[in-house]
């Protein structure tokens, strides 16, 4: 590869027909993604009547918080939020502890058993028992019906571990060596030398675990039983499904005083995705960088 002083400046050329075509196609694509979200949010702020008249609406004429009031007074959304926060609060530190310590351990120079342990990690990526035996293990550990089962099941990912370990591998060994000469143990080196140098990968992996915990529902559906233990996603799921049943019943009733189920569903959808919306742009640049460095080093 020869070194070019500069990329050919495409931007200095005139806009051609092709540019406009691409612009239009991509804008339409973006619209196809944004419009459904916009519609969801607007319906959540509108009244039943207005929705029935015009489901296409871009702005409700009489915005109302009715759906949200009903959502919080009737539904389990509050407890769902709290349960998911509990999962994140315990699960994130636990998963980061497991992933950074093991990731650093496996990035160290050769030690007896390193290869075997690495194989054990890799094997879980190609073979897993699935949910049924995991359920039996949780039952034997007396964890079914306990939110810890959901936290534990999600607190480690071989994929994240390998990304982390690869990143650590790329750090200059001389830094760790000099800390070792100064008498620092491996745990101290991890905390004082490695972690401060690893902000991008830590942001990335935290995002991955955080999103996975936030979006998780299957383990909770299988391991937990009581409605008040359910995390946010499961609550949202039951709101969407239940309201479906209600809507079917309602059509046979006189359409007068029935509640606005679509409004409440959309309010629940919006409430569930707000945190992702807030964090996403912040962490986006981090994870793109982290994923790429991780992938290239493999």
């Amino acid at each position: 590869m020869s070194k070019n002083p500069k990329k050919p400046k495409l931007g200095s050329q005139k806009m051609t027909a092709m540019d406009y075509v691409i612009f239009v196609i991509l804008s339409l694509g973006a619209l196809a993604i944004l419009l459904p979200f916009w519609n969801v949010v607007m319906i959540s702020f509108s009244t039943q009547k207005e929705y029935a008249d015009n489901p296409l609406m871009l702005f409700p004429k009489n915005p109302t918080l009715e759906s949200y009031q009903r959502l919080f007074s009737e539904g389990m959304i509050g407890s769902g939020y709290l349960n998911t926060l509990k999962i994140l609060l315990i699960g994130l530190p636990l998963s980061m502890f497991l992933t950074t310590s093991m990731g650093y351990g496996l990035s160290r120079n050769k030690f007896p058993g390193k290869k075997l342990i690495f194989m054990l990690v890799l094997f879980t990526m190609i073979f897993n028992g699935g949910i049924v035996p995991l359920y039996l293990v949780m039952q034997n550990l007396n964890l079914t019906g306990n939110i810890m089962s959901v936290i534990l099941a999600g607190s480690f990912s071989a994929f994240n571990l390998i990304l982390m370990s690869n990143y650590f591998n790329g750090l200059p060994e001389s830094l760790m060596e000099s800390a070792r000469i100064d008498g620092a143990g491996e745990w101290k080196i991890l905390l004082k030398v490695v972690l401060p140098l690893s902000a991008p990968i830590i942001a990335t992996i935290t995002l991955f675990y955080g999103v996975a915990f936030w979006n998780g529902w299957y383990e909770a559906m299988v391991f937990l039983r009581k409605a008040e233990q359910m995390p946010l996603q499961n609550v949202l799921r039951s709101i969407i499904m239940e309201a479906d049943v209600n809507a079917a019943n309602a059509s046979s009733m006189a359409a007068g005083k029935q509640s606005f189920s679509m409004g409440m569903k959309m309010a629940a959808v919006f409430i569930t995705m707000v945190p992702i919306m807030c964090f996403f742009p912040l962490l986006q640049k981090h994870f793109a960088k982290g994923v790429l460095t991780g992938a290239i080093k493999t």
């Binding site: 050919p8 540019d19 993604i33 489901p55 035996p133 039996l136 491996e186 996603q233 949202l236």
Partner: protein, 318 residues
């Protein structure tokens, strides 16, 4: 712990085993680093794998997993006699192979278009928009979808506005699979484009310059320079998705299926959920199905990995 590094490497008369022990002792700190993760793996990955031995047993709650009697391949005979199981297997393959054909080009096209877009700022915000839905759960997306694709929802309102007749996206067996493809493209094409964009950004700019000197138009450059250069990435992504033929799509299908589509939506993982947690629970039977699924998955993945390596790529592992 400070003296660990100072242990002499070799003494005359040491046996191999002593050397090994010395190595282990020297690295004892490293083992404490690895241990927590290893404990997790044993408890929540390898113990369940052992639990799959139920597939060869007649599980009795009172006797536990270890105490239950062995029954050989009996469970598998029952499994393969269940028409619902066979249907679920073929359905999974059909849906996922269709997915591979229909959906696969979208991230590539998106990446090519984004690459050609000249407005830098706009490109950045577009990428943000396109990747965003990937980070939502299928439950959230199903909430969006039941609104947008409902009979009186956004899309049908638009269709009617343009003079067409409404389509029952959500409640018809015929529309179920196309609806699955459509919503999956909507959710994940943008994320899939990222890897191709990364490959494109690694292309040597000399090639474009040479093409320009030869008088190639931008369209020609796209097809003659960009596309051939990302062909290895395309091949590997394709092979890797073959590895997921038996496993992908559960979250989506489970959350978008409803009573009206239950005849066309029971893929293998949905079947496993139903027989394990909804109908009469027979853990031996479920374990047999799970084991079958895991083994087929593994074979597909290994074949995909081997194929990727044969194509000169990196494969899944290393």
């Amino acid at each position: 712990m400070k003296s660990a590094a100072a242990v002499p490497a070799k003494k005359p008369g040491d046996s191999k085993f002593q050397l090994f022990l010395r190595e282990v002792w020297k690295n004892r700190m490293v083992y404490t680093l690895v241990l927590p993760g290893l404990v997790w793996l044993i408890l929540f990955a390898y113990l369940p794998m052992g639990g799959l031995s139920l597939a060869f047993k007649d599980f009795k709650f009172r006797e536990g997993i270890l105490g239950s009697p062995w029954v050989g391949l009996d469970n598998f005979t029952y499994v393969f006699r269940d028409p619902a199981f066979l249907d679920a297997v073929w359905r999974t393959l059909a849906i996922n192979i269709g997915k591979l054909i229909v959906q696969f080009p979208f991230p590539i096209i998106l990446a090519l278009l984004l690459n050609e877009l000249r407005m830098r700022r706009f490109k950045k915000s577009l990428q943000t928009i396109f990747t965003f839905p990937n980070f939502l759960s299928w439950i959230v997306v199903s909430g969006v979808v039941i609104n947008v694709l409902a009979y009186d929802g956004l899309v049908n309102s638009l269709i009617k506005l343009l003079g067409g007749t409404g389509i029952n996206f959500l409640g018809s067996e015929k529309m179920f699979v196309p609806m699955i493809y459509l919503t999956d493209i909507w959710k994940s094409a943008g994320w899939g484009a990222i890897i191709y964009l990364a490959a494109i950004s690694g292309i040597d700019t000399d090639q474009y310059e040479a093409a320009q000197i030869d008088g190639a138009t931008r369209l020609q450059q796209m097809f003659k320079v960009t596309l051939p250069n990302i062909m290895p990435t395309i091949t590997i992504m394709f092979i890797l998705s073959v590895g997921g033929l038996m496993s992908s799509g559960f979250d989506q299908i489970f959350n978008l299926a409803n009573a009206a589509t239950k005849n066309v939506s029971e893929v293998l993982d949905v079947y496993i959920y139903r027989i394990t947690f909804q109908s009469s629970t027979d853990f031996s039977f479920s374990s047999a199905v799970s084991l079958f699924r895991s083994i087929v998955n593994m074979i597909l993945l290994l074949l995909a990995d081997r194929a990727a390596k044969l194509m000169g790529g990196d494969g899944l592992f290393r």
